[in-house]
């Protein structure tokens, strides 16, 4: 087992596929117990230390001269679930959408509660959702949500809730003033004490709003 420093966008299933290890085995390894106690394997924090096995050596495949060689790679998928809502909290039900960037364009409509759900190969880092009737589009950065007990996780949730413009690779330190303003606006909208600081009550309220 060797230490691996988690980067932005990493999550266990993706790392398992890319590095060729079994996700359950690695997560259950005693060396990862501390990480397991504090993190969701799908929501890791850049800088976290994950112990992973040395890369498996793939058995060689024979190639025949002058022949056609076909190989199939089975890429695992993960489920992405997004509840689309209007600013007043009403679900965008039966809303037509298109998803670009995951292979063929996916066309569908949201469910009654505004849910847009799809399976995404673990290798996909970003896909685009367009809502033709709303004349809106946005990029979903897979694995970019940080743990919600961290400021960066709260910032990501506030971005998703429409309170914060957050460039995909920005840290909270780079948008400190905007972050506090967004927290204050959320507090104001939710009848919380407006301090601009993330106390436990505010964090829970943001998390609750984000999870719908």
């Amino acid at each position: 087992m060797k230490p691996y420093v988690v980067k932005q966008g990493d999550f266990l299933a993706r790392l398992a596929y890319v590095h060729g290890f079994d996700a359950d085995d690695v997560w259950a390894n005693p060396k990862n117990q501390e990480l397991k106690d504090t993190r969701d394997p799908n929501v890791l924090m850049p800088g976290d230390l994950l112990f992973i096995p040395d890369k498996r050596v793939q058995p060689s495949k024979p190639l025949g001269n002058g022949s056609t060689n076909a190989y199939t790679a089975a890429i695992p998928t993960v489920t992405m679930s997004l509840y689309l809502k209007s600013p007043d909290g009403a679900p965008l039900a039966a809303e037509p959408y298109e998803v670009h960037g995951v292979g063929d364009i996916i066309e569908n409509v949201t469910q009654g509660d505004g849910l847009l759900e799809l399976e995404v190969p673990v290798t996909i880092r970003v896909f685009q959702v367009t809502l033709p009737q709303q004349e809106r589009s946005f990029d979903v950065h897979v694995g970019h949500l940080c743990p919600t007990d961290q400021e960066s996780g709260t910032a990501g949730q506030l971005a998703s809730l429409g309170y914060l413009d957050m460039p995909p690779h920005a840290g909270v330190g780079q948008i400190r003033d905007d972050f506090h303003a967004a927290v204050a606006m959320f507090q104001e909208d939710n009848d919380l004490a407006v301090t601009g600081e993330v106390d436990s009550g505010t964090r829970d309220a943001i998390d609750s709003a984000y999870r719908g």
Binding site: F11, A13, D40, N42, V43, V78, T79, M80, S81, L82, Y83, L84, K85, S86, P87, D88, L92, L115, V120, V122, T130, L131, P132, Q134, E135, R136, S137, F138, D139, V140, H141, V142, G143, H144, L145, C146, G156, Q157, A159, S160, L161, G162, Y163, L164, D165, M166, P167, P168, D178, A181, A182, M185, E188, D189, V194, A209, Y210, R211, G212
Partner: protein, 369 residues
């Protein structure tokens, strides 16, 4: 296809999350934009911030004082008339020798910045009060101000933001503030409070200030949750001719104008520092933008704005004053109330266009709110 407020949404597999999608941007005409702005900043009940502008609290005091001096007891009025007959007045001929008439002049002297008349009337009425101790109602109108103008301005607006209610100077609880020295102090501050008031109203309009409800999400002004940067700066071009100083935008002016239109469509308003024609010919640099206005909508290359100095702009649509139109001249990189080159001339008194009853504003700096 427009991006939503934040086009980059971080998400995690297996963790359901909410994405708030604002309504699509839509362009409102200038008439629709200014009406929506007015409807938002002027709550029901005839508060009239739109037409009070930066002199809002002075106006409120003026009205409250009017109500007080017109209802002064007859005994105090007749005593004043007798006093004026017995004691020659050192006051301008406009003085009426009636108590409510002179109080009326006193209020007008504040608005007219006529310090000499204000002082003379104050002296005259004070002498009368010293000789007539029973004139307590009249005396209450001259009790000295207890706060600075800025403190009164700030506390009045903060009180409004916190409660949604306008301070009633005519109420007995606020009698200590309902006097001419207070009005004079507030006016002195409000005279230079164009930028402060424009900023407050921008915050009010976009729903960022405590005490105000957010704008109906279904309407245009719903998506502005943070302040984007918008660089627009003009440099002064010295033209000592009839036009006075004329500003010309820097090379990125056109790009900034495109951004401005996009942001107005998204529900922002734009805070603009302007050079008014008031100081034509005496500007020495690019930072002499002595007034502030708010741009709230556009049609093509015309932009409608709210003017905190409500008497300086000619009006638009249903507004007889307090609102004006700026014209974008792409060729010369100018955004001004002048419709063309000939209209740039400042020939009217007080920095106004020739034949037009408004200041000739030139935008020098824009910030989106």
């Amino acid at each position: 296809m427009s991006a939503i407020a934040n086009p980059a949404i971080p998400a995690a597999p297996g963790v359901p999350g909410t994405v708030v999608v604002p309504p699509p941007p839509r362009h409102l005409s200038m008439t629709e934009s200014i009406n929506e702005f007015a409807n938002q900043i002027d709550p029901p009940g005839g508060v009239s911030i739109m037409t009070g502008g930066q002199f809002y609290w002075t106006n409120r005091l003026y009205d409250a004082l009017y109500a007080k001096y017109t209802s002064l007891p007859a005994t105090e009025k007749s005593a004043y008339a007798a006093y004026c007959t017995a004691h020659p007045k050192n006051v301008a001929a406009a003085s009426t020798s009636t108590l409510d008439g002179d109080f009326n002049l006193l209020g007008n002297a504040v608005f007219g910045r006529d310090q000499a008349l204000y002082s003379a009337l104050l002296t005259q009425i004070s002498k009368f009060l010293a000789a007539n101790q029973s004139a307590t109602n009249a005396a209450s109108l001259l009790k000295p101000a207890v706060k600075k103008g800025v403190d009164i301005y700030t506390s009045c607006w903060n009180g409004y933001f916190a409660s949604g209610k306008v301070l009633d100077f005519g109420d007995a609880a606020n009698a200590h503030s309902c006097n001419y020295p207070t009005m004079s102090a507030v006016y002195a501050y409000e005279s230079g409070a164009c930028g402060m008031t424009a900023g407050l109203m921008a915050a009010f309009f976009t729903g960022k200030k405590r005490g105000f409800s957010r704008i109906d999400p279904g309407k245009k002004k719903s998506t502005a949750k943070s302040q984007p940067s918008l660089g627009l700066r003009a440099s002064a071009v010295r033209d000592p001719g009839l036009r006075g100083d004329v500003l010309q935008g820097v090379a990125t002016f056109a790009k900034a104008m495109t951004q401005l239109k996009d942001l107005l469509d998204k529900g922002y308003v734009a805070y603009a520092r302007v050079a008014s024609g008031l100081h034509a010919n005496d500007m020495t640099g690019g930072d002499s933008y002595e007034h502030a206005i708010l741009l709230v909508g556009y049609d093509g290359d015309r932009f409608v704005f709210w003017d905190p100095d409500f008497s300086a702009s000619e009006g638009f649509g249903r507004f007889e004053s307090g609102v004006g139109v700026l014209y974008y001249d792409a060729a010369n990189r100018r955004l001004t109330t002048a419709r063309n080159d000939a209209d740039l001339a400042v020939t009217g008194a007080g920095g106004k266009h020739a034949g037009r009853d408004q200041h000739r504003y030139q935008v020098g700096l824009l910030i989106c709110k």
